[in-house]
Symmetry: C2
DNA sequence: GTCTATAGTGCGATAGAC
DNA sequence: GTCTATCGCACTATAGAC
């Protein structure tokens, strides 16, 4: 992160990263499948925040309500103290198309996982996939707003507002 | 496409592609920013199909209705004759994570462009971005269903059904 | 069109942890 | 004694500079 922030992602070689970390290039690639992956690894607990409230919900809970709970829970990953760090990381990603691609890819994986969890609850198609897509989409848009300049509201609050806006949009 | 289908995307070198096309490697990269791009270039008319019906709609048309018209129009890009080709292309993309990433990236660009068009009509935020996200998301899921084994319905029909399912999901 | 830097892979050797 | 982390080295393809 320090190297990327100072000189840019593209301008930083894997050799530099490895040296800074006191390792060899070969070892870097043992831990990370590619150079971009170093910015996205270790998001397992983040994923779990989406899933836990779904697992904990009563069996009859409607998909929409599950998504709302999932979003509220995911907000815990982004307390106010994390905002500065998230902004710095987002700036690095925003500066490089290759990193934006990887971010979209990670969000797509989250969608797939969420869809699975919903289907395991007996929610059918296309509802399960649609609910997963909506949940992750609202999360993503909310996150972008959360790190916007001057924004002070919490992630959970923004997400709730965005989900309501989506509902309003669809029911015009 | 032929080379990718026969031996896989990763196993096909740019040198091979260039030679097959009767060009040099350097010329390939002059036309395409990177190797993956060759599978995604020239989608401008596709993009326009989303935008045209929005431009043509009466000023007071609600965002949801705009999206519905956009989806109906985009369906024209996928007549039944195109289905076999789309399946073959999708199979190539599905076999390679790097290509799936690029596809998501292209869809994200489409979202951005659609959002712009909606804002130019005076639709505010977050409605414009949400509508664009919903439109492209429904398109993407519908496309995946359209190329699913045994599926015979038209793109427009599937998209309409998916959009209705989304509405039902959110309004329960 | 030529040249070169860098990402990423395959295989093997070594050292330490349990 | 097996398992895992690191390293060394040779090699190829992409991609960019000039």
């Amino acid at each position: 992160m320090r190297l990327f922030a100072d000189q840019g992602f593209e301008q930083t070689t894997v050799a530099e990263i490895a040296e800074t970390a006191g390792l060899t290039e070969r070892t870097f690639f043992r831990h990370f499948g590619d150079k971009r992956e170093v910015l996205f690894a270790g998001q397992d607990d983040f994923l779990q925040l989406f899933i836990d409230p779904i697992d904990a919900a009563p069996a009859a809970t409607a998909p929409y309500e599950l998504i709302a709970r999932s979003l509220a829970s995911a907000g815990d990953f982004f307390p106010n103290e994390r905002r500065a760090y998230s902004r710095a990381r987002a700036a690095i990603i925003a500066a490089e198309a290759a990193l934006q691609e990887r971010e979209l890819s990670k969000l797509a994986m989250l969608k797939l996982r969420l869809g699975e969890v919903l289907r395991e609850r007996g929610i059918g198609e296309p509802a399960a996939t649609l609910a997963a897509e909506i949940g992750v989409m609202v999360f993503h848009l909310s996150f972008q707003q959360w790190i916007a300049a001057g924004e002070r509201r919490s992630m959970a609050q923004i997400a709730q507002e965005r989900l309501a806006a989506l509902t309003a949009l669809v029911t015009q």
